[in-house]
Symmetry: C2
Subunit: 730 residues, 2 copies
């Protein structure tokens, strides 16, 4: 027996050494796997429990989607449970994990899940733990293979977050019909506002190199969230995307995404007939133009039979559109909608418009689109940015939500950190998304939140959607900053379930992306909870907005007062002078507040009832206006700037506490990025305070340090302060 | 005993499973490790032999460079020998691997290596297998820590290529003093002619994020070849690189590279005093300008104490230079040289110039620089492209080699495939580099090869150098196409030893990058052997050159006959008309051949004695000129185009034979890229033959297929045929 013991010990030791070296490998994490990390569960008891509960995988269907689900579960269970997953075609005396639809699995067909399945619709799923033929089994069932795939990712998430799966009874269906990511990728592979490398789409070697592992991983990442559409090119579209050359390439991508339930969409340029075929007009009411689109659409569907549809930015920031021919947006959208309707395609038509005239830019999308409500075809969805301006750190919600009642709508939010420090800053966007979804338009009385509206519970929409402008590029970790991943994650999770809280999502993401250890969850949770508000505070608190240097949107230039258009300056937005600051949007000003529904009109009409974090969006107030804190507006403003800097310091401190608790690669990278962020936060605070104090001539409150440099220094730095961005070289 | 057996078997099985899963991991190879792959040696006998021969590693020095050598050996031996490397501070009864200098290692000091060490100079090394204190030991010794590091990489290469190390007696020193890689990276992270993602240098988060693992791996890759300098920014330089903001960032990179023996150099803009500090002149003879440079250089050395020096592109393609002030190149170079001399810095001054006047561009670099021979300071090195034009698939060597006899010179070659199909095509450049190094200038009679000249064996140069324009970017495999790695490798190996053969280097690279299996070596060896010649054949055989579409340099446009300058057209180079084709550079033409030394002048003067692969570089010949093959020039030309296409088919076939023998990830990617290459090769052949036959009105030889489309098709495609390149968007 001694000999035996020693031999066993020898092997065990060797095994340990090998596993240790394995672990050493997995401990260096470059972020590529995003949240789909399937490292072995460290808690042995839990791991054994899961092993006992999921002894074999039973997949009987053969579709590409079911094979993808099977592959994902195998990969996940192999890793998490540290064993080769057993596969079986039939039930036996083992605890099975059975996945499928009633059509693909006779075992599932026998379970009589009719009503539960009916309740979850075409994309939902149910997961049940129940006894089948005398054995404990776990069932993932759905009406479609895609639903099964979503259920598979859900189960893996439960394991990754160490959930108890002994009595599972999950019934889940998406809140919103179309859950779409938007890429702002140009055909030359530059990504507008991307900051994470070049475009993922390697046009130069497509369609030949379609089996690029990165394309499949991209699809897995999105499918894990239930995202069912991707617009692969920039809304500032290149007409050539509709050429046969590019359709051949796009079709190869669509083929890779298809098994993952992801439809491919394209951004198109409204005057494509002119640019591609020499037409002298793109008038949507011109029969020749309509014919051109019908033929092109037919061609598109020859290449991509399940093509999703078009996304259009028209008559916005120089893009062509129907107004070039004195037609309105509905004319343009409906022309495309008619061409694509025979194939069940959709047209996402953006409401991000602002005419070049003077006036309050805040008003313009509403003023243009509200009169068109009800005039759009059933297969048009008007895609509205969360706020009335442009993805600023904090905006009130766009009054179009609640105003378009007979027009399908989609919400557009930005994961890419165009206004949040690019990929240098940590700024989890979950709280922003949550704020928007929870905002109440009062369109049908209290409770008419944007989330409920998108879920089709307020108006009787034919379709709804949600679009997230994501930034992935060739950077190894996809998003440049690891924490931009968390915003992508939050976007997808909220698209699936608008009722989720951003804090719960942050915790889920942290468990999957870093660790289930309480100390890690608590530190990262704290950081994520304050990061967006910190970004507001050190840039533009109290409802200030758009104080950026023009064009690159990274650094501050509150002094900026001349430009091609007034609404590209900072002054246009803050209106600061010796006497006060803020944009009067009440009756004495632009009266933009009239675009909201009654209770809000009243609320926003007076500074006392306006939420302080939106105050200067709606009111021009004297510098000594008394705030709730008892401070004057000026002192409160400085206090907010100081708070923003303090919050970044706090984030940095929290992050340092993670040393040794997470992999060193991401620890080091985020540490360095937090140094950059602190440098920038101080810079923002100092530049803005320098400027505003030069305008109002007031002293800083006691205890608040003077800016490091005189105002002129910051003005001089505006061009020198170089943040390399191939999209926007200075 | 049965029980024991079974237990052992159980553990062995488990172990096997784990190792299998380990192997499954290593089998997916994304190319990131380049040739520094340290996967376990599959041959058990050999592995055991190495284990016995290298039982422990003895490193006594503490310098960062020795620590890097130790870390590399540990990583390499851990992987290759599949065991934890034992470390010791002293000799004992184990077979030691001892590394160090006589200063850092008393064991090495005792070996009395004086004369051998003297022979290998400051960067060379010796590796000996010998008995020390009664034990077999392996010794890596050098005069400097960098030499030790190079020796460490050499030993690992021996193991990676399965060499017999039982009787090692290596003595190695570099042929060329300055072995430098050149990046054409812009500060906005676009890489000119890079095709492999964005620049590696993440300026936006430097200096904070200097511990980017990619920077260290970059340094390892170069150090493994003995590369001792890197110019990190584009020769089309941005003056801001000399600003304090960027010097701070560059200094962080220099700090990372330093332990690996790699000096940092910068490309500078000649009129920096004007752009950075508002000077109204950059006249090199202006004392104020000289003073500006002295001060800036002083600053540079404050940031980077071991800064290598400047690389300058002046009075070339619109870049400013001394000629703007009626000064000559030596005036400009010497001014910078004087400023940097106190710090032992160098000035690499490029000879790639061509004046905007009419005339033969071939002549221009020689005509400008030859008269200046001997007028440059001792710390100036004139950097000369291999050919007289610009990195074409085949050029005769630049006549400046052999002509500059009293001026330090460097050879500049291109690893990046600007003219070789970007990162889509497989085109191992080793044969091209070898062809250049072996070219004989006859400057001091036969044997005055460029290789020997650079090795300082022909003229009494104070310094020499070799520069490789490399393309690494953020693409996961660094270079876009896996085989561009092989050209980087060949550049470095030839820089170290100009006598190596490109075929031997290809085999070395294949063993390290793919496999030591004979069948793999043979297939990849065949592919690499023909790839460059294939690229010549399907693009511009028989001495044709520069038939590219203007600007993007990917596709063909032999019909191109008007441009901003005549020498940017294709017609300028081929001069094809009804009667003949080729550029007459004999006495009846531009007489550029007079720039070569006597035996070559005679040889190139007549078509009969001119090598056929250079024929149309020097002669305008009738279409029916009889070639050695017996074919007419026209038929030979078509034959060459056909051969090029056939060679790509052959490469594709050879590659397919590797299925299952190499990792599937690189197999799939290169397979797809070869499809692209075949498509492009056919396109090149068809477009060129269409055009030339339209000029000469001659029929194709029998058996040679007609082009797929009429000529107009190819002309129309010139703008549509879009190869995405953020550097050169169409």
């Amino acid at each position: 027996m001694h000999t035996l013991d020693r031999t066993a010990k020898y092997w065990a030791l060797l095994l340990g050494l090998i596993l240790a070296s394995l672990c050493a490998t997995t401990q260096a994490d470059d972020g590529y796997r995003m949240w789909l990390r399937y490292d072995t569960i460290a808690n042995d008891t839990l791991k054994q429990q899961y092993r006992d509960q999921l002894q074999q995988l039973v997949v009987t269907g053969q579709s590409a989607t079911l094979q993808a689900a099977k592959a994902e579960l195998t990969r996940g269970l192999d890793g998490l449970l540290e064993q080769k997953t057993a596969h079986s075609q039939r039930l036996n005396n083992k605890a099975s994990l059975i996945i499928g639809t009633p059509d693909s699995s006779s075992a599932i067909a026998k379970l009589d899940l009719g009503s539960s399945l009916q309740a979850v619709g075409p994309e939902g799923f149910i997961i049940q733990r129940r006894e089948i033929a005398g054995q404990n089994a776990t069932v993932i069932a759905a009406n479609t293979d895609t639903g099964v795939l979503y259920g598979a990712f859900h189960l893996l998430r439960l394991l990754q977050t160490h959930a108890d799966i002994s009595t599972l009874a999950v019934q889940s269906a998406p809140s919103i019909e179309h859950r779409v990511v938007n890429h702002w990728d140009n055909l030359d592979r530059l990504v507008e506002r991307g900051y994470a490398g070049l475009s993922l789409w390697e046009w130069g070697n497509l369609p030949e190199y379609k089996h690029n592992p990165r394309y499949i991983d991209y699809a897995r990442i999105n499918a894990s969230l239930g995202i069912n559409g991707t617009v692969i090119n920039n809304v500032n579209a290149d007409a050539r995307i509709l050429s046969d050359a590019f359709l051949t390439k796009a079709a190869a991508l669509a083929e890779v995404f298809r098994p993952y339930g992801i439809k491919l969409y394209l951004s198109v340029k409204f005057n494509s007939p002119m640019l591609l075929d020499g037409f002298d007009s793109a008038d949507p009411l011109d029969p020749k133009v309509q014919q051109w689109w019908r033929e092109r659409v037919k061609k598109v569907y020859q290449y991509i039979p399940d093509f999703g549809g078009f996304l259009v930015k028209a008559n916005s920031e120089g893009q062509p559109g129907p107004q070039d021919y004195d037609r309105h947006h509905a004319d343009g959208a409906n022309m495309l909608a008619d061409a694509i309707a025979p194939y069940n395609g959709l047209v996402f038509w953006r409401a991000f418009v602002y005419a070049p005239e003077q006036g309050d830019r805040f008003r313009e999308a509403y003023d243009e689109f509200k009169p068109l409500d009800g005039k759009f075809r059933d297969n048009v969805i008007v895609q509205i940015k969360n706020g009335p301006i442009d993805f600023q750190p904090r905006e009130p919600f766009s009054p179009l939500f609640g105003a378009l009642q007979k027009t399908n709508i989609a919400l557009e939010v930005q994961v890419s950190q165009e206004y949040f420090g690019f990929s240098n800053h940590l700024a989890y966007q979950g709280p922003l998304f949550e704020e928007v979804l929870d905002a109440d338009s009062y369109a049908k009385g209290p409770g008419s939140t944007i989330g409920k509206t998108l879920a089709g519970k307020v108006f009787d929409y034919k379709h709804t959607g949600i679009a997230g402008v994501i930034n992935p590029g060739t950077d190894r970790n996809w998003t440049g900053h690891t924490f931009v991943q968390s915003s992508w994650y939050a976007f997808g999770r909220l698209a699936w379930d608008v009722e989720l809280s951003s804090a719960a999502i942050a915790d889920e993401w942290t468990r999957m992306s870093f660790s289930n250890a309480d100390s890690v969850r608590s530190s990262i949770g704290n950081i994520m909870a304050i990061s967006r508000e910190a970004g507001v505070n050190y840039r533009m608190p109290l409802g200030l907005t758009h104080l950026y240097a023009q064009g690159h949107h990274y650094g501050p230039a509150p002094w900026h007062d001349s430009s091609g258009r007034p609404d590209w300056t900072a002054y246009y937005y803050h209106q600061a002078d010796k006497n006060g600051i803020g944009y009067d949007r009440t009756k004495t000003g632009s009266n933009a507040i009239e675009q909201y529904n009654p209770p809000l009109v009243t609320q926003f009409a007076k500074p006392e009832t306006t939420p302080e974090d939106l105050l200067l969006w709606f009111h021009h107030l004297p510098w000594d206006y008394p705030m709730n804190s008892g401070r004057s507006l000026w002192h409160e403003l400085v206090h907010k700037y100081d708070t923003g800097v303090a919050q970044v310091r706090q984030m940095r401190e929290q992050w340092q506490s993670l040393k040794g608790q997470i992999d060193s690669e991401r620890f080091t990278q985020v540490s360095a990025q937090l140094e950059v962020q602190l440098r920038d936060a101080i810079y923002w605070r100092d530049a803005c305070i320098s400027y505003f104090s030069s305008v109002n001539g007031l002293a800083l409150p006691k205890g608040s340090p003077a800016p490091a440099h005189p105002l002129q220094y910051y003005k001089d730095q505006e061009s020198v302060r170089y943040v390399p961005d191939p999209w926007y070289p200075i």
